[in-house]
Symmetry: C2
Subunit: 243 residues, 2 copies
């Protein structure tokens, strides 16, 4: 708001914050491909080259956007119920992903290009907080690290899952789905076709996330029999580990 798309004389001094926020807005509204040095420059009423004072690269700009979103995630380690805390963080992450679906590919993918130790600090903070939480819950640090990886992987996986279920135009879904399913040879895809109504029924992301978290936490509890147990109390059958 506040002005037309072009020729706006308004020009506050640039700053990294300002640039990144404009970039995020652009990505949110028009997708990743729209985040272009030229377009962002125009959005800010500046020459595209000005941006290079605040991000050495387009790639760096992308990292900045991802960091901006991820930094909103706060995991506090002060609650006694760490499992609840894990769930809360998971849902928080999910909400962030839903609020910025176009940024999700960056979040899950950009780290592939950057070794852990060199990642932006805002990205590492959730990791640290998560470790703190798990260690406070009684897990030995190395195990906490492993657990963190499983948990984070679950989150990334879930969010990717859910986002591809989201449909822009819910009205067109029906026709689209049938159209798509009819295309599939029935003898080769009987199961998938049989699930048409379930696929049409929509997708409760929060419930699905909880389901996956249940699996993880229950599994964790089941595995604890052979490993030092943290703050949980129940015990049951002990399956042997493999490989």
């Amino acid at each position: 708001m506040t002005d037309g798309p072009e020729g706006a004389p308004r020009r506050p001094r640039l700053s990294r914050e300002l640039v990144l926020h404009a970039a995020l807005r652009l990505v949110d509204e028009q997708g990743l491909e729209a985040l272009t040095m030229r377009r962002l420059g125009q959005e800010l009423g500046r020459d595209p080259m000005a941006l290079y004072r605040y991000a050495t690269n387009r790639a760096a700009l992308l990292d900045g956007v991802a960091e901006l979103v991820l930094a909103q995630l706060v995991i506090s380690a002060d609650t006694p119920d760490w499992q609840e805390q894990l769930r809360r963080a998971a849902h928080q992450f999910r909400q962030l992903a839903l609020a910025h679906p176009n940024v999700v590919p960056l979040i899950v993918t950009r780290p592939l290009a950057t070794p852990l130790a060199l990642r932006p600090i805002g990205t590492l903070r959730p990791l640290e907080q998560m470790l703190e939480l798990l260690i406070a819950a009684g897990y030995p640090p190395v195990r906490a690290l492993h657990l963190y990886r499983s948990y984070w992987g679950l989150l990334h996986g879930h969010v990717l899952n859910e986002l591809q279920e989201v449909v822009v135009d819910p009205e067109a879904t029906d026709a689209l789905l049938r159209l798509g399913l009819d295309r599939l040879p029935p003898e080769e895809f009987p199961r998938l076709r049989g699930l048409a109504k379930a696929l049409l029924a929509g997708y409760d992301g929060a419930a699905a996330l909880d389901e996956s978290l249940d699996l993880l936490l229950n599994g964790l509890q089941a595995v604890e029999q052979q490993a030092p147990a943290p703050g949980s109390r129940r015990r049951r059958a002990a399956p042997p580990a493999r490989r």
Copy 2:
């Protein structure tokens, strides 16, 4: 046909297969950004515009590459031990990801742009096979779908995790890691810094994957005790017990 006298430049007739394989090779060897219509054209000794006969888009080309890799995944539903089958498929997927790391972003990310029903068939086949496997194991279809989602999410998450642990130059890792960790304010990142040696110790991806699978399968088993029991009911039964 088409076997004429071999001239100076060899130019077999193009085909979608041929184009996609060349594209995959390019991505494998030089990364995603190197997959450019012009470069691919040059690679094939053809005008870039020729490619548009076999892929309507660069985006379609990317989808094709992802499909090409994913289609190599085969899940057979004929084994009685479905859990073992799940593990096998997971490790197979992991191997594919390791063999084509540059394609992984496509695999996890491209579906976001395409509603499920319109995805390339090669991409849907693993889904169908997986559903068949779970349903044969006794799960009701809808539950099988949910389970599939958790499982597939876990796979994507794990692979993303593992790939960002991979280091191009293992010798430089040490210095790099220390450099990076030293950068972090000690009072803000005590846990992370404390895990330096664990991070340096390297990452056993297969083991980590098994660990995550253990969590999922054990959790599944644990949940079954309170929910309507799937595993042991149907005719082609496979009890939830693990070896």
